[in-house]
Symmetry: C2
Subunit: 334 residues, 2 copies
């Protein structure tokens, strides 16, 4: 089952069920007006939404054309956004840039931070920066949305709590990362609004692409039409989503609608940009720059600038974007 949120005058938008081929959609208003409402009552809402999806796919309901440009983030605002760090090669590559104190690689327990969840960015909304000198980077990630999770859950409980899957762009202002981390209170100013892909999907509906609590699909990142990377999110994910949920709930329960990020997707390799059509590359610019420093003695790929365009999406076996594309221009604050 695929779900999306159309933009509306209401801050939570309007929940729609999307056809399996992502061409049509139908309002889910009679079941739940918005996604958080469905997550609050998932046991009742999910079967009704599945039924609506089946009718839409069978043609019993005509629906309306599905236009990703009309979507907001699936949850335009959420009660919790926790970003983990599942990929060790990402940490390894950017550790020096981040000024992190962890002398050993964090391979025993995943790092995670509490992100801002009050106003996410729509898939095609501009990324608005207060100035053009903050080393804007994008970080392509897989995320899950959970049901309620008790404190200290088992891995099984954590895995069973995964309701929906999609991808996001954890927008980062690299120049502020060091400041944030050195003040000792963690990420804050360096992490403005996160962007989400138009469509969320149940794990079951992803077939073999979802297994072992991981999404086994390449996530493609293009900057101004140039391929920067297409690492496979199922490769090198040392901590899976069950691990991340268990860790997040170590000292507290998690409410329904909690979004957990798997961290910047990163596959081990020794490539640098530009990559070939079948290359792996990078899901964030900071990693590309680190690889360049190692190979050439200096970083060559610039961070994103005002006017740049960044497109991110998970790619299915048929070559199509599974959750729809994030496609954003960088703009300066008025």
């Amino acid at each position: 089952m695929k779900l999306a949120t159309l933009r509306s005058s209401r801050p939570d938008g309007q929940l729609v069920v999307v056809s399996d081929d992502a061409t049509r959609c139908v309002s889910a208003g009679r079941i739940a007006p918005y996604l958080q409402g469905a997550l609050d009552d998932w046991e009742a809402a999910a079967p009704a939404l599945e039924d609506l999806a089946a009718q839409l796919d069978a043609g019993a309901i005509a629906g309306q054309p599905f236009d990703p440009a009309m979507t907001h983030a699936p949850l335009p605002r959420a009660y919790q956004w926790i970003d983990g760090s599942g990929y060790l090669s990402h940490l390894e590559r950017v550790r020096s840039l981040k000024g992190s104190k962890d002398a050993e690689l964090q391979s025993v327990r995943p790092l995670m931070y509490q992100g801002a969840s009050d106003s996410f960015s729509a898939p095609t909304a501009p990324i608005v920066v207060p100035s053009d000198d903050l080393a804007l980077d994008s970080e392509a990630e897989v995320v899950v949305i959970t049901g309620p999770v008790p404190m200290r859950p088992s891995r099984e409980t954590a895995s069973a709590a995964i309701r929906l899957v999609t991808v996001c762009n954890d927008v980062s202002l690299r120049k502020l990362v060091l400041d944030d981390l050195q003040n000792g209170f963690g990420f804050f100013h360096a992490k403005p609004a996160t962007t989400f892909a138009p469509i969320v999907q149940t794990p079951e509906s992803l077939g073999s692409a979802w297994r072992d609590n991981r999404l086994h699909l390449p996530v493609r990142v293009e900057v101004n039409g140039t391929l920067y990377g297409q690492p496979n999110a199922g490769v090198g994910m040392h901590f899976d989503f069950a691990d991340l949920i268990v860790e997040a709930a170590r000292t507290r329960k998690l409410a329904a609608g909690t979004i957990i990020g798997g961290g910047t997707i990163s596959n081990p390799h020794d490539e640098t940009l530009p990559i070939k059509r079948d290359g792996i590359g990078f899901a964030c610019i900071a990693e590309a720059r680190t690889a360049e420093k190692a190979k050439y003695g200096r970083a060559r790929t610039p961070f994103l600038k005002v006017g740049d365009r960044i497109a991110i999406g998970a790619i299915g076996e048929d070559g199509r974007s599974v959750f729809g594309q994030m496609d954003q221009n960088v703009e300066l604050l008025d």
Copy 2:
């Protein structure tokens, strides 16, 4: 105007208007079923709620008895909870304990962290800890709830965005603070569910107790019936709430319903526990312990343990609790 949220089967509870003497309340359901709804549409909702409050206070509406024990947090869940650090003497006293890297006192820009906002604790709900050896501490703070704030607001815009005021207990697991900060990603496991007082109030309705973007009232902290502190929240608050909102919105806008904490209330003095009836004392145990270490060479006041009871409330000139009391027992997770 005073507002509160009664517990109900719905996750957001039920919004009520509370009489000025806090003895009666009336459902605000016909205006907004829950507080976030009112904040989403404040320009329309606030005058209607004020009108209802006036009718309740005039006796034109009988209402029902107001029982703080039936309340949830005013926002049982919120889209954003940002905790600042406005009181320099708190930072000064606990800096060594926290392992913070800031060599100089953070007097130029306030520190802040993104807190968990998915499931706050009701004023009289137990504080549930996963084990009894995590150095449980309470931190009494003033908080404001804001309307929407644009990125890079002026101090005037920030101040005007303050919709409601109350106090909270920013529950902390001191033993995990160092872990959280040393991993470089900031507070996470050390900050379980925050507790809020039963009542929120508009700044205007606080009279002279609210001025200069600060709450000028003592906030009393009692552990097992013993007075630990009653520092005045208007004293020593180096960064006021306008400063904190401006800082929070440096690289992003803030959505309506954002909660901003002023940091652990702390007044400069050289007292140690026990304090006299007119003493100042401390709003968190860590500060009391630091003062003891300085005076006696070792900390004497233990952190909170399972079975302890912690009560916190802001005290008005008439000696009554302004926002109602937080009164919680510490319990071990089942």
